[in-house]
Symmetry: C2
Subunit: 551 residues, 2 copies
């Protein structure tokens, strides 16, 4: 804070959206006398990044509602000197000045700072393929205006979205809203990389059911005037092409100024959000963060983290004792009525890192099944087998997924174990949950694994187990079994099991039901009746079917 008689402090913030504007407004609340300038390359500040796809789709009809603040309103409320169309083109670190260039007039200026905060965000990845200049991106209001105009021109014809991540799926859905025929081209075998393949299989189904031409494991090799060409030689009609392949930290200014860049390609900062220059801080999508599970550097371009870091850096600059915190990367997207959310690490990431884990799948109802409107959801929990620590969680379904992932993210932050989830007291009435909430049930499942009451097998391990002589016993009803089952499965309904023990093969067994609940009962019966090697199929036939369909 300023002291009487001292010169007011001079703060310059590069970037006027989430992290930058959080920093600038918090700085003002903590330092009334400082001179605070905010430099924004685009024509807008404090706009609703995460709303942009929905304006393209017409869900958010009024463009003005995306503009949460203006330079004038920020001037009046916070005494900020907000300059739009103003690019920071160079930093003189010795002189502590930033050189700006007005993007329309070309006029240049030098602004002195006592502390400089870089919040330039991230830039869309644009692969070097022929015709890439025809592809639209979606990061700011100008991009949005361009996409709205392109869709207006193309009205009712064909769009190709390159990339099946958060933004790609949001854009695809919104282009469907606008009546376009939409294809999504995704280079990997699944959309939504933070989740595992068996979890996103329902998303693949929903996209295809909505008429999306979903091409998995395919890349675009050329963008033509009216189509794109894929790496298998096929062409897909495309009046509009959107590149939503991902984003990379915008490090141009930082690199030009000789600031250190980290191993993941983001601006390197310490736990005080300080770059390699003691007067230059950086926050948001442009910087590398610390992964909460591995302690390693990571890139997590999410609005919540950017806002939080912006506020935090203002606290640090004005002398509060703060440290940046590691990140979990909790994220969600809503697509075609599905909520798709994750926190922490996925199974494939754990496996790739060689880190031991237990996986748990469940398929609860979003609220009590006897109350109207309950939706089936799929949850997955990843657990450290040595410590019972929660390593990650995923959820997909039409209702209540956001809540469960937020509860689990909070539990991770609070250091609760997977088994502790069983004991959480969550608000229960039949509209909102169950007396045993889906999160509690994950805790019970984890506890059963921890104590050895349960042994489970994963969907992707069944075929190999069968090859080695394991018999699958399906304990659902005959009607369920007849509608589809794991090849080779023996059928004995759980309620008949005690009276038909003689029919159960002696060898290694996998029991399975629809979602794993009856299978657990059956596995307990068989184990206690003396069968020596019984495992329950985690997530049951539902997870197995989704997983094998995703292959």
């Amino acid at each position: 804070m300023s002291s009487p008689g001292l010169e007011p402090r001079k703060y310059v913030v590069v970037g006027g959206v989430a992290g930058g504007m959080s920093a600038a407004t918090r700085l003002r609340r903590l330092d009334e006398t400082a001179a605070i300038s905010v430099l924004e390359r685009s024509g807008y500040v404090s706009f609703a990044n995460c709303g942009l796809p929905y304006h393209v789709g017409g869900v958010i009809e009024d463009r003005a509602s995306l503009l949460l603040q203006t330079p004038a309103s920020l001037g009046a409320r916070f005494g900020l000197d907000v300059r739009v169309h103003t690019e920071a083109v160079a930093i003189d670190r010795a002189a502590r000045t930033v050189t700006t260039r007005h993007t329309e007039s070309g006029v240049s200026e030098s602004i002195p700072y006592d502390a400089l905060i870089l919040a330039p965000g991230a830039r869309p990845v644009r692969p070097p393929i022929p015709g890439i200049e025809r592809a639209l991106s979606l990061r700011d209001i100008e991009d949005t205006d361009a996409m709205v105009a392109a869709v207006g021109r193309a009205g009712g014809t064909h769009a190709v979205v390159i990339g099946g991540g958060f933004i790609g799926l949001e854009v695809a859905e919104n282009l469907l809203h606008r009546g376009l025929v939409v294809a999504v081209i995704e280079a990997t075998d699944q959309v939504m990389a933070p989740l595992d393949p068996e979890m996103v299989e329902p998303v693949h189904v929903a996209l295809r059911d909505a008429g999306v031409d979903l091409r998995l494991g395919r890349s675009v090799v050329a963008i033509g005037a009216g189509d794109v060409t894929l790496d298998d030689g096929t062409t897909v009609p495309a009046d509009v092409v959107v590149a939503a392949i991902g984003v990379r930290p915008d490090t141009r200014l930082a690199e030009l100024a000789g600031l250190s860049i980290g191993p993941r390609g983001g601006i390197l900062v310490n736990d005080q959000l300080l770059t390699s220059d003691p007067a230059i801080y950086a926050v948001g999508d442009a910087v590398e963060k610390i992964d909460a599970l591995s302690g390693e550097k990571t890139l997590v371009p999410l609005a919540n983290t950017a806002n939080l870091q912006g506020r935090r850096v203002a606290d640090i600059i004005t002398g509060q004792a703060r440290s940046d915190r590691p990140v979990l990367g909790t994220a969600i997207v809503g697509v075609l009525g599905l909520q798709i959310a994750a926190t922490g690490w996925s199974e494939k990431r754990l496996r790739a890192a060689g880190r031991p884990y237990r996986a748990l799948h469940s398929h609860p109802a979003s609220h009590a099944g006897y109350y109207p409107g309950a939706a089936g959801i799929a949850l997955k929990l990843l657990v450290d087998p040595a410590t019972d620590a929660i390593l990650g969680a995923q959820g997909v379904g039409s209702d209540g997924v956001d809540k469960r992932i937020d509860i689990i993210a909070t539990a991770i932050t609070g250091g609760l174990t997977a088994s502790d989830l069983a004991d959480l007291e969550l608000a229960y009435a039949p509209q909102f949950g169950s007396a045993k909430d889906p999160v509690n049930m994950l805790g019970h499942m984890a506890d059963n694994l921890r104590t050895g009451v349960s042994r489970t097998i994963q969907w992707h391990e069944v075929a190999d187990a069968q090859q080695s002589g394991t018999i699958v016993v399906d304990v659902r009803t005959l009607a369920e079994f007849a509608r589809g089952a794991i090849p080779g499965a023996v059928h004995i309904p759980v309620d008949d099991l005690r009276s038909r023990l003689a029919e159960v093969p002696a060898g290694p067994l996998v029991v399975t039901c629809a979602v794993g609940l009856r299978g657990h009962v059956a596995a307990r019966i068989l184990t206690q009746q003396g069968f020596p090697d019984v495992r329950n199929l985690d997530g049951g036939y539902t997870t197995w079917r989704a997983g094998t369909a995703s292959l």
Copy 2:
């Protein structure tokens, strides 16, 4: 677990709903060879208690959907000997037998046990007023059938619900659904006792807007043939009367057997859920629990806790290392489109206990305001000023309240401080939250109080402060101010404050806006400009208006 060659264990469970049935089924999964009997006085087990009001209202149309299991299905799946219409009338503790009486045939039987689990639940409080025998209650299927029949007879006429708690409000709403004219008579000054009065004022408004004749601070002194008489001498027409005053632990059998009863009137159990008899356990609404904040005995008749204790006691009985855990009492009710939820302690309870606290009120949107469908919600957080520990939280609103209360309940269990809520990484997309989620914002507010960046005043302290010479400065727009303001308030919009400092009185100041955000900005401006005593009105005019209306 059973060992080969030993006699199978004999378990008897008294009570066949939440806690009792959770215990019985878990016992079976852990002990395949035990003889497990479940004695249930009513004609039904494993029914959906929390769904009963909604069947009365026709929201849950099919009565059968309330019956989650039957004695036959539980026999087939879990090998349980489930006896309905079977009351446990006595325990011979020396002989370890329970005497049962069939409620229809009157036939008596003696059942031996190695371990007895009491899960008799709670009974509705029935005050000793003339005509109380005419009042219906709602605890089981028989009660529900009786209420459905009574409403059918009374079709379209008048109902009186005595008690404005969870069940009373659910019943009131469902009787409205059925077309009855409904009065709610509540002896205290507010409905929903676990919340503070300013938080439930919107519920009072919603009830009255829906046509409910809400009588606060009134008791029923007599129930007549077609009306009830209140303590102010007025009568209210009543073809149907429902007593929903609360519940008391059902300790009849335990008392008869000489088991210890605790200070709050529930069955006394230790952390192994063991009563004063080493072979008798007890769980659920009938037992006293330990309050998570005070460590004292408490009564928390909630389904989630009952289910959890039922499972836990089975683990304990079969030799797993478990301890019962203290309870927060997280609860929610949905009424007339509002979600009303709480966890931990309320302000009035903290005040009555003489425990220091800070209160924080916020009025965020359920999700990003720019995305369609955002609903205003009210949140309240109670914080220990010495440790920053979270003591309680409350929420009221039409969407997203359940999620925020669950997150905070999880944070309490994980030992996170109020300021830690700022750093939680919650799943954000504009349909589900905000980049700064309402829970994060509570954390920022708590942190500002903790660090002294904010000083606040509560709605109920304003009048006294004004009496002592404090001036209220309202920093909203003129249009907002003109629609209603705190009497005596001076009006200077926040955006004009810096240019009109000369008009601001020098004395102690309270600044206020709609919800507290602009007030915070104004308080920071004034404090840093040298005004020595500035406080922000917590929750702004919205909380003040609700609070003063509740008086």
